[in-house]
Amino acid sequence: MKKLLKLFNPNFLWGGSSGKGPKHRHMFNYSRLWRSAVMLTALSAILPLLAISWLDYNITLKAVKSETLSRTSRTVSNTKRTISAFLEERKSVLDFIVHDNHYTDLINPERLAVILENLRKSFGGISDIGVINANGQQVAYIGPYELEGKNYRDQAWFKEVVERGIYISEVFLGFRNDPHLVIAISYEFPDGTFYILRTSIDTDRLNEQLSNLELGAQGHAFIINTAGILQTPSHHHEETFEKIAIPVPEYSPTTEAFEYHDPYGESYIIGYAYIPGTPFILMIAKNKNEIMKSWNKTRFEILIFLSIGIIIVMIGVIGFATFFVNNIYIADQRRIKTLHQVEYANKLASIGRLAAGVAHEINNPLAIINEKSGLIKDIFQFSDQYARDDKLIGLVDSIHNSVARCGAITKQLLSFARHMDFSLQPVNLKKVIEEVIGFLGREAEYRNIKISINVSDDIPQFESDRGKLQQIFLNLVNNSFAAMSDGGNLTISAVPIKDKRIRISIEDTGCGISEKDLKQIFEPFFSTRTKVGGTGLGLSITYSLVQEIGGTIDVSSTINVGTRFIITLPLNPEKIKEKINAITPR
């Protein structure tokens, strides 16, 4: 679980750094690299997903819309045929009557009453019938009103019948105050005169035809005239004879469908058809939201699919980006560490060469000073005249001591520069430590410093350079002694660790090292004790010695609490040689 969390919260994300020193910075800004990797990969994975979903969304939407429109169109077409057939039927019957009956028969009220009765029986909804002569006068009439003798010559419908031979009126209330329409048909005699047979039809049958359509809860069919006035009742719209809100569609000989958005935010799919030979436009309106219900489900499924897809892609992308960036980061960390080691080794080597040169140049004049002052002292000592002059002897001794001090420094510098041969021999770690402590035992006793040695019995005898090991311990123990006041504690412990290595810790209760100094502690010539004889080479020599025998050294310290040096050494000499070859600059 922790590993999984680590995968999504790696060190590099928060600018974790192992860079030692300003020279070796990370090759990349890892959090930025990670962000770019995640963004680019996510984009390249999610964009096609979004595109496909968008495409699918649109195609499906288009398909649903076109299916809805065509279904509406089909319904309109079918209804249009029904309505046309309804009107055509009645028109044909009138046509049949005028052809089947002689004019004289038709103006006979009895005959006309029989015809009306038969019509009512066959078709129903026919309220009256009348015959109008060429002058526009109603010569015969059977019906509920007193219309016989009424002249229609000046009326528009009369003119239209004369012109076109047929007339179908809009729906109107008339005297009856009941919606109906009129169909009139003319019969022309061979001499050019004519008469008109006119009948009124209730619109109930027509309305029935429309209401019988199965259009679903939100769909309804109705008829308007070319001025947009409702000719049949509409469930959801205005009353008959009111003007509908939908604009009257343009004339088209075929069935059409379009989308209409009303001012209240509702959308409708409207299908319409002009019914030929009539002033009627058949309309079917369907609530779009109702129709699109199935589409909404599909849309929801597409969105769910898209969301799940994006989540899976993001988990994958973040996981992989983290894994790869982390690998680069680790490699970079190693690079920095190696660079640091190589630079350190190079620095030590060049400082060594410089030190050797300087030491050599100084050594010769120093030797001369040494001999000259020695001779002066000899002369004083061998001559009675000055032998008892303590001041002169003191002065010469002081020169001598200074030369000896300089000599010690040059010798140390030269030993620092020297590449001693690497000689492996079996080493008993506990023995080596005890020998080193032996040198310093007296000082420890005198200063009341308590030394504890805890070397694990699990550490076998191993091959290493005994001399170098001794010098390492001597340097570090000396360092600890210098850091501690009288009565301190020095603990040296060693335990075996994994990969056939041992871990040695040298811990004191001294004054500690500040964080700032800790960074430079292994640098050559860095010393906080220059005034009391520190050369600043001890720890840097120790550092190279530890590297030469294939180990690593680390330090941690707390001011006024103490310092701990940790050395890890390999038990396998083959590895030491490889490491030496790798790090020793030639």
Partner: protein
């Protein structure tokens, strides 16, 4: 006891010779191999002190020349270098190897040790 000191630093070798003379040694000094050979040819010496690094002919080369003329002569090397080469020169006979600046008492002890005698000063 006769000693020959050879070092290209005249000031050094001259002073050291004088100091050894004060301690009862019969010490001659030379600043080059050529000069040293003249001394060897003219007198007998019990021990030579040689600087390892000298122009033209170095200490170890000179030792070979002297060895031919005075077989079995004891040698103490002096050096101002800490170089690997010098160290190897010394490691063969570590006790007869001294680094400059030298401690006179240490040198006397080494001379006596080499000659197998008690200190004379």
């Amino acid at each position: 006891m006769r000693l020959l000191l050879v070092d290209d630093e005249k000031e050094f070798v001259e002073t050291l010779a004088e100091r050894l003379s004060l301690r009862g040694f019969d010490a001659d000094w030379a600043t080059s191999a050529k000069n040293a050979e003249k001394f060897i040819d003219s007198r007998h010496y019990d021990l030579v002190l040689l600087d390892v690094k000298m122009p033209k002919v170095g200490g170890r080369e000179l030792k070979k020349i002297i060895e031919k003329k005075l077989p079995g002569i004891k040698t103490i090397y002096l050096t101002g270098h800490g170089s690997e080469e010098d160290y190897h020169a010394g490691s063969a006979e570590a006790e007869y190897y001294l680094m400059k600046p030298i401690n006179i008492n240490e040198l006397i002890a080494k001379i006596n040790d080499a000659l197998g005698k008690e200190a004379q000063s």
